[in-house]
């Protein structure tokens, strides 16, 4: 008997590890060539102090999953079909051109994660993704994971950086009428780190609202650090260098044109397009926002949805959910 986990990102790997720690066997299928999903590429966003982004909860997870004897890891593999009944599923998976069947699957955990809004956005802000200096939140994370003592990354620091918030979220036109929950947190922390390393760099935060990151006067403290906040909706980005951002200032409805060395799109979370197939195969439904949702309790259906496959979540929320799901599968109290 084994538990099948679809997706080897934070949610999938956390669940896998919690399950094998409780004596279960796990089959983990991941469509990419390595596990780790997006989180593996994230960087630490502490400036002078830790800001509780939760990344440190990962620890040695990737190595542990890759080397654990009770986890059968199948990369570049997709789940094609599920047969049988809850408690004794058979899962059909595809790797390159060959099919494989796993029998004796007691439970299925769908942890297919999310995609960045830039990949899925419809009629989004016009920009060219190929230009240097125009990056997404995820790319900024990757850059920051290379940080060292005196510099965030190699080369000259940018003289000005614009963070474009709510990219692809909270927008009727983008068909994503929800807040992606994490962008205010990660982008503001990134802005703080930038300002900490390069105090002379102009950092402008173009935002709609300001979600709660910490109790206390978090946003005011960032303003005190010198980060400029402008309530706005960007309209267009003209590729430079320097890049020009055209935006509407909400406060007086004027159109402003400003140039920046670097523009960061704080992408939100969109449902994984694989969700369509997985919903059908695993008999799941969709939430109003288009993320996966279990129709009935997983103790009846044998299928759980963990992580951002079910909607935008923070790292610590995903880890807690993975732990709770693993407990449920192992028949913990409840």
């Amino acid at each position: 008997m084994a538990v099948l986990i679809v997706g080897g990102g934070l949610a999938g790997c956390s669940t896998a590890f919690e399950l094998v720690s409780r004596g279960q066997n796990v089959v983990l299928v991941e469509s990419a060539s390595t596990i780790g999903g997006k989180v593996r590429r994230y960087g630490c966003k502490a400036a002078d102090r830790c800001l509780n982004c939760g990344l440190c909860l990962v620890g040695d997870l990737w190595n542990q999953v890759e080397s654990h004897p009770q986890i059968q890891l199948r990369t570049e593999t997709e789940l094609l079909d599920v047969m049988g009944a809850p408690g004794s599923f058979s899962a059909v998976v595809r790797h390159a051109d060959s099919l494989d069947i796993f029998d004796g699957i007691s439970h299925i955990v769908v942890a297919s994660g999310f995609v960045e809004s830039s990949r899925a956005a419809v009629g989004a802000v016009e920009y060219s993704h190929q230009a240097p200096g125009i990056i997404t939140g995820l790319e900024l994370e990757q850059l920051m994971s290379e940080r060292r003592r005196a510099a965030l990354w190699d080369g000259e620091p940018p003289k000005s950086v614009a963070f474009l918030q709510c990219f692809g979220s909270r927008s009727l036109r983008d068909r994503a009428q929800y807040c992606s929950r994490v962008c205010c947190s990660y982008a503001s922390r990134a802005a703080r780190v930038l300002k900490h390393y390069y105090p002379d760099t102009r950092v402008v935060f173009l935002h709609m609202e300001q979600q709660q990151v910490e109790p206390g006067s978090y946003w005011q403290s960032l303003e005190a650090d010198g980060i400029e906040f402008v309530r706005s909706r960007p309209v267009t980005v003209r590729v430079g260098p320097p890049h020009t951002v055209l935006y509407e200032r909400s406060v007086d409805s004027t159109i402003v044109e400003e140039s920046f060395d670097m523009v960061v799109f704080s992408e939100g979370m969109y449902p994984n397009p694989d969700g369509e197939r997985l919903a059908e195969v695993c008999r799941l439904s969709f939430s109003d926002e288009g993320f996966l949702k279990a129709v009935r309790d997983s103790s009846e259906t044998g299928v759980s949805v963990v992580g951002c496959a079910g909607g935008p979540k923070r790292i610590e929320e995903v880890v807690a959910e993975a732990l709770q799901t693993a407990r449920g599968i192992c028949g913990g109290v409840r």
């Binding site: 994230y42 960087g43 630490c44 966003k45 502490a46 002078d48 102090r49 830790c50 800001l51 509780n52 982004c53 939760g54 990344l55 440190c56 909860l57 990962v58 620890g59 040695d60 190595n63 920051m144 994971s145 290379e146 940080r147 060292r148 003592r149 909270r170 009428q177 929800y178 807040c179 929950r181 205010c184 609202e209 300001q210 979600q211 709660q212 910490e214 109790p215 206390g216 006067s217 978090y218 946003w219 005011q220 309530r231 909400s250 406060v251 007086d252 109003d288 909607g311 935008p312 790292i315 610590e316 929320e317 880890v319 807690a320 732990l323 709770q324 407990r327 913990g332 109290v333 409840r334």
Partner: protein, 450 residues
């Protein structure tokens, strides 16, 4: 197994029911009746005005205090519906304190309710927090129903002749006057009684004075003390999802902690050496030591101990010792690095390939927490190695709260001792980092070796 709920709130009723369904009996202790708590998970003794109560696990349900901000209370309208419907209603958020996330759905529902009754509703805010499930849709619905959302920088409140409110709001370019109107204000949240409770239960508080359960490694309900959980019942009233998650976490975690295999890593005390000075008792971030008055020595509880080693390093009598110590790994002629499990350890494992590629080796000593690092250990290391690096967590990231700063203090002392002895102080390096900064450690190691 008995769960002691500390604090009386309506949420207790739900908790009792859910815990009962999980075969757990609950007892309730009012916060002002609790005098002292001793013991450890599985065997807590709560000294109350009614005598001693015992419980396996404690859940703090006392809510933080929700206070109305400093506006004359007479101005605040608790029942705006009954007023003549010509008066507009102002819902004021973020006044004096950034309103919490969980208040948003309450405020939006109220705004929507009033708007549907054809009242003119102004929702004044610095920001509307819609990150929760369905909250964005609620917000759009409220806008669709005619609620006017206003962003403000400054706001002033005055009283009109008939006892209504007059609200003036400004931002950088415009100002808005609304009045006479009915005024509803979002409360400000303060620790309240939870502060004294935290002290009584020896729980760490966060930088805002609340019982610390905000840190990512404590999410969702854990506190600094094993077996003591804290549910923000104020938030639970507004966010049923959170309550569900919290209940599941208490049940799941407590069951696992109580049936876990014996804790292998904890601290042992030499009774002969103990001077009963209470230093370890005060310094322990997890309240894992209890005074044994009969023998006049301190007693560590294996069940409560996290093995962080802070007490070991602090004990002036050298009476405490960890049951496990990891041997140094990796051969090196010149550099030994003390890595804390939460930061340095993982960072260095991400560097192994690069280090090997560059032909650099270090001797690595893993410690559970930087708090275990002592002056003596650093100096002893320098007898064998050219340089010693202590790599611990950043401020606020230490999972044992103070370990990193204790390590900093110890390192500073070691450095000053070297200086006073005419030895090279630069032989000891101290670096604060997180797992996500391997390059930083790489730089330190390269510098130390070359």
């Amino acid at each position: 197994m008995t769960i002691a709920l500390v604090g009386s709130t309506p949420v207790n009723v739900i908790l009792e029911k859910e815990f009962a369904a999980a075969q757990m009996e609950t007892i309730t202790v009012k916060s002002n009746e609790l005098q002292r708590v001793s013991g450890h998970i599985g065997d807590f003794r709560l000294q109350t005005l009614d005598g001693e109560r015992r419980a396996g696990v404690i859940v703090v349900t006392e809510p933080p205090e929700a206070k109305l901000p400093g506006i004359g209370h007479a101005l605040l309208d608790s029942d705006p519906v009954s007023h003549p419907h010509t008066k507009p209603v102002v819902l004021l958020m973020d006044y004096e304190q950034e309103s919490r996330q969980f208040m948003t759905p309450v405020a939006l529902e109220l705004a929507l309710f009033l708007a549907r009754r054809r009242r003119t509703v102004f929702f004044l805010k610095r920001s509307v927090k819609t990150a929760g499930t369905d909250q964005e849709r609620l917000y759009q619905e409220a806008r669709g129903a005619g609620v006017v959302f206003v962003d403000y920088d400054q706001v002033q409140i005055a009283e009109t002749d008939q006892g209504f409110a007059h609200v003036s709001a400004q931002d950088e370019s415009q100002s808005l006057e609304i009045g006479p109107c009915s005024l509803i204000v979002a409360e400000t949240i303060h620790p309240g009684k939870t502060g004294a409770l935290a002290d009584c239960l020896k729980l760490r508080r966060d930088r805002w004075g609340f019982i610390d359960e905000y840190k990512h490694y404590l999410y969702p309900v854990m506190t600094s003390r094993r077996g003591v959980y804290a549910i923000d019942t104020l938030r639970a009233c507004c966010e049923p999802e959170y309550l569900e998650e919290a209940i599941a976490a208490v049940i799941g975690d407590s069951a696992e902690q109580l049936t876990a295999d014996a804790n292998l890593l904890y601290v042992e005390l030499d009774k002969e050496k103990c001077a009963f000075c209470y230093t370890c008792y005060r310094a322990c971030p997890h309240a894992a030591l209890t005074p044994n008055q009969a023998e006049a020595v301190m007693e560590p509880w294996e069940e409560a101990c996290f093995g962080c080693g802070i007490c070991v390093s602090m004990c002036p009598a050298n009476a405490l010792q960890l049951t496990l110590e990891k041997p140094a790994q990796g051969a090196s002629q010149s550099v030994q690095i003390f890595c804390c499990e939460n930061s340095g350890d993982t960072a260095i494992s991400r560097l192994q390939e690069d280090l090997a590629h560059e032909g650099l080796t270090v001797s690595q000593v893993s410690v559970t927490c930087g708090g275990e690092i002592t002056v003596e250990r650093l100096l002893q290391a320098l007898r064998q190695y050219e340089k010693v690096i202590a790599a611990v967590c950043m401020d606020d990231a230490c999972q044992h709260f103070d370990g990193n700063r204790r390590a900093c203090a110890q390192t500073e002392r070691a450095v000053s001792m070297l200086e006073a002895a005419g030895l090279e102080p630069g032989r000891i390096r101290f670096v604060q980092l997180s797992q996500g900064m391997p390059r930083l450690l790489h730089e330190e190691i390269r510098e130390a070796l070359l």
